[in-house]
């Protein structure tokens, strides 16, 4: 009888132990989104491998002018800054200051952030109640107290004001953003790489549309990657200055005179 009681007690202890292990194994966890690796694209902008030559300069400059003009009209910075403007106070409220978690409390924070933003619509005016202008669904993560540099997701017919008066832009497709610096709502401080697998169009008279492209938005300056024989050169628009960076030099180009001039004085004409 005593033996049976002892065996029963042992079984009880083992059952309790098993429950404890089960509870420990069920510790709360979170699942974080996998973010795209934009390393190759970032590297292409830092060190383009293509070469601008007299053979391709005319075509590349024309393409650069047309696509940069479309990007400038579409004004995606406007949309990004609107998102940052909404997001920044939310992150600050959660202890994310300057995109880094406050570490005073000896805490290591990992997080998954999912953001749904209603797009502002075609004008800067307050939209009518009930009007919908598409949305952005974005995800990113915090790893060991630091906000990831990549924010990615989908734009669903997202409409926002273009840079040209009375025109609007629409972004539709998968988007990937890489922030170079802490999030800022100031245009001058906003430096992003934008990758779009979809379309960015405007309703301006020129009716521009960019498809499946990437661009760098460096404050008021714009950069676009152009393919040249399997490598790339970087077209840029800095104020009124149009130019192209290649593997060797940074050229500024003037369409009227049909000349691109490098910093060392070398010129290419067409």
């Amino acid at each position: 009888m005593a033996r049976s009681s002892s065996a029963s007690d042992r079984r009880l202890v083992w059952h309790l132990g098993a429950w404890l292990v089960l509870v420990l194994a069920c510790s709360p966890q979170i699942s974080q989104p996998e973010l795209a690796d934009l390393g190759d694209t970032l590297a292409a902008y830092e060190s383009p491998r293509g070469v601008l030559s007299s053979d391709n300069v005319e075509e590349l400059v024309a393409t650069a002018a047309q696509r940069l003009r479309g990007l400038s009209l579409a004004n995606p910075q406007q949309l990004i800054l609107a998102v940052v403007d909404d997001l920044e106070p939310e992150l600050e409220a959660r202890g994310l200051v300057d995109s880094t978690v406050d570490e005073r409390h000896s805490l290591s924070v990992d997080a998954s952030l999912r953001l749904r933003v209603a797009c502002p619509g075609p004008t800067h005016d307050e939209p009518d109640a009930g009007a919908t202008f598409g949305s952005l669904n974005l995800v990113t993560r915090v790893d060991d107290n630091a906000l990831a540099h990549v924010i990615q997701g989908q734009a669903h017919a997202c409409t926002f004001p273009a840079s040209e008066e009375a025109a609007s832009s629409m972004l539709d497709g998968d988007i990937f953003l890489y922030r170079y610096d802490a999030l800022s709502t100031q245009v001058a401080d906003a430096r992003f790489l934008l990758v779009v697998e979809g379309a960015l169009s405007t309703t301006s008279a020129e009716g521009t549309e960019l498809r499946n492209f990437d661009a760098r938005l460096l404050g008021p300056s714009l950069e676009l990657r152009l393919d040249v024989g399997g490598a790339e050169v970087i077209a840029f628009l800095d104020g009124e200055t149009l130019g192209i960076r290649d593997a060797r030099a940074r050229y500024t180009c003037v369409l009227e005179t049909r000349v691109c001039q490098a910093g060392d004085g070398a010129t290419l004409t067409w």
Partner: protein, 276 residues
């Protein structure tokens, strides 16, 4: 005069420490009931500074702790709690008990530009063993798993955040009880928290039709050491009156809640109750 006072004090101390069969309380059926597998016997009642219990059966003790009720005065909201201790094994040299408790608190705060309210649930489950190694020496062990859940809604200016948080921890404890006589026991108690789960906080903020942020965050402690303490003390048990006190060093574990406070310090310990 001073000699007479000292002698009186010594006599009183001896009165306490010397064995007295007439006042002996600790026997096989009346062990220490804090941090051990022992519990009140059926029909017994404990009224104490920190805990009130009643033995409703030989194997079942129920009770409530005082501190959360006192905290209600500051929280301006009732913080009820209840605990149950089940004697699973009651053999002469070895006892095994399971203790479960539930604590609840409703928290609310309001300032000029911010307001928040939330619920807090704390559910510790403890397994105790008590073993008599020698007639005068017992060892008690404890393993406590605590599940903490909180939900809150915070409004800061135009920002509104709803969230829930979950955290688990495992604490282990051991106590050596060296009995000097039926009234006096010297105790040496250690406690550590070898496992603390990351705290998972899920929150949602913003308006559903314009901007919404869902954040699932995992907060892990960067503390480089396991919270622990060691406390030496005395347990005095008369027929009805029980007094425990001691002093130790290490992390202070908040009574009732068992939450360790970072930083090593002197850790005072004390308990007083009557049992009848």
């Amino acid at each position: 005069m001073r000699t007479a006072k000292a002698a009186g004090l010594a006599a009183a101390l001896l009165g306490v420490l010397l064995p007295s069969r007439a006042s002996a309380y600790h026997d096989q059926n009346h062990g220490l009931i804090d941090y051990t597998a022992h519990s009140l016997n059926g029909g017994e009642l404990r009224l104490g500074l920190f805990e009130q219990n009643v033995g409703i059966h030989r194997y079942v003790q129920v009770g409530t702790e005082t501190l959360p009720w006192l905290a209600s005065l500051f929280l301006r909201s009732v913080a009820p709690n209840v605990n149950v201790k089940l004697g699973l094994v009651r053999s002469k040299p070895f006892d095994l008990s399971l203790r479960g408790a539930v604590y609840y608190a409703y928290l609310a705060a309001e300032h000029s530009d911010a307001a928040g309210r939330g619920d807090l649930w704390l559910l510790p489950v403890s397994l105790y063993t008590s073993s008599r190694l020698l007639p005068w020496l017992s060892v008690h062990t404890e393993a406590t798993f605590t599940w903490l859940a909180a939900g809150a809604k915070v409004d800061v200016e135009e920002l509104s955040v709803r969230g829930t948080g979950i955290s688990n921890s495992l604490q282990l404890g051991a106590m050596l009880e060296a009995r000097v006589n039926p009234v006096v026991a010297v105790t040496l108690r250690g406690r550590l928290q070898p496992y603390t789960s990351p705290t998972v906080v899920r929150s949602r903020s913003g308006e559903a039709d314009s901007f919404q942020l869902d954040a699932d965050a995992k907060l892990s402690s960067n503390l480089s050491h396991v919270p622990l303490n060691v406390i030496a003390g005395l347990a005095l048990s008369w027929k009805n009156v029980n007094l425990q006190f001691g002093m130790g060093f290490g992390n202070y574990f908040i009574p009732s809640f068992g939450v360790p406070i970072p930083g090593a310090r002197l850790v005072p310990d004390g308990s007083f109750f009557v049992r009848f």
